[in-house]
């Protein structure tokens, strides 16, 4: 917030000194107010990945509520990127056996931020015939 007012003051100083004209100052002030601030971006960034499962209303229905911090996912992926190459094959094999067709060797630290960023847009909402619900989202 203090950065914004400082920038605004600089523009007004430039105007008062006659270095820029009124229309230029107006344009600069407009661009300043429309530019997303770093603080604002931080606020909108989700902190947690949530998985909520509501079982059916019958006698076997259960509930699952999982909250995973996004930073934990980041840290976990950074750690996975450090795995020695000999470990990749058994991990890939174990993942495939459990239905996850994923190649761990392709996880590169430079791609992690992009991957997590796309994960924040994720939203899964599934509703079954007998009332069971599955929701995966970021908050």
């Amino acid at each position: 917030m203090s950065n914004l007012s400082e920038e605004r003051r600089k523009i007004l100083n430039l105007l008062s000194e006659g270095k820029i004209n009124a229309s230029e100052a107006e344009k600069l002030l407009e661009s300043l107010s429309s530019a997303p601030t770093e603080e604002g971006q931080m606020k909108s960034a989700p902190k947690y990945l949530r998985v909520i499962v509501d079982g059916d209303k019958g006698p076997h229905g259960g509930k699952v509520n999982v909250r995973v911090p996004m930073n934990l996912i980041r840290a976990g992926m950074r750690l996975a990127a450090l795995l020695p190459t000999v470990a990749h094959e058994p991990i890939n094999k174990a993942l495939k056996e459990n239905g996850v067709d994923f190649d761990v060797s392709k996880v590169k630290p430079e791609n992690l931020e992009e991957l997590v960023q796309h994960l924040t847009d994720l939203s899964v909402d599934v509703e079954g015939n007998s009332g069971e619900k599955v929701r995966i989202f970021c908050e």
Binding site: N65, V66, R74, L79
Partner: protein, 83 residues
């Protein structure tokens, strides 16, 4: 970055009831640090190889704060929360 300090574990079932447990894991960290001194010393000599792994493992453990797992079925309810 701060390591987690407490873990809350709760287990409920119609047959048995255990009071919620608040485990002060901040007491474990100094002991674990003392125990890992030989490992850290060894890692210092080959920091380029083991340094990033140690740093990332520490980060991973710090980021565990805020994790919540709450599973409920008609038979039992289990809650694990890391603070």
């Amino acid at each position: 970055m701060i390591l987690p300090s407490l873990i809350r574990i709760q287990f409920k079932s119609p047959k048995s009831w255990i009071p919620p447990l608040w485990i002060p894991i901040f007491l474990i960290w100094p002991i674990l640090l003392l125990l890992s001194v030989p490992v850290l010393l060894f890692a210092l000599f080959s920091w380029s190889k083991f340094g990033p792994v140690i740093v990332q493992t520490y980060r991973f453990m710090c980021e565990l704060r805020g994790t919540l797992v709450d599973v409920e079925s008609p038979e039992a309810k289990v809650l694990i929360s890391i603070h």
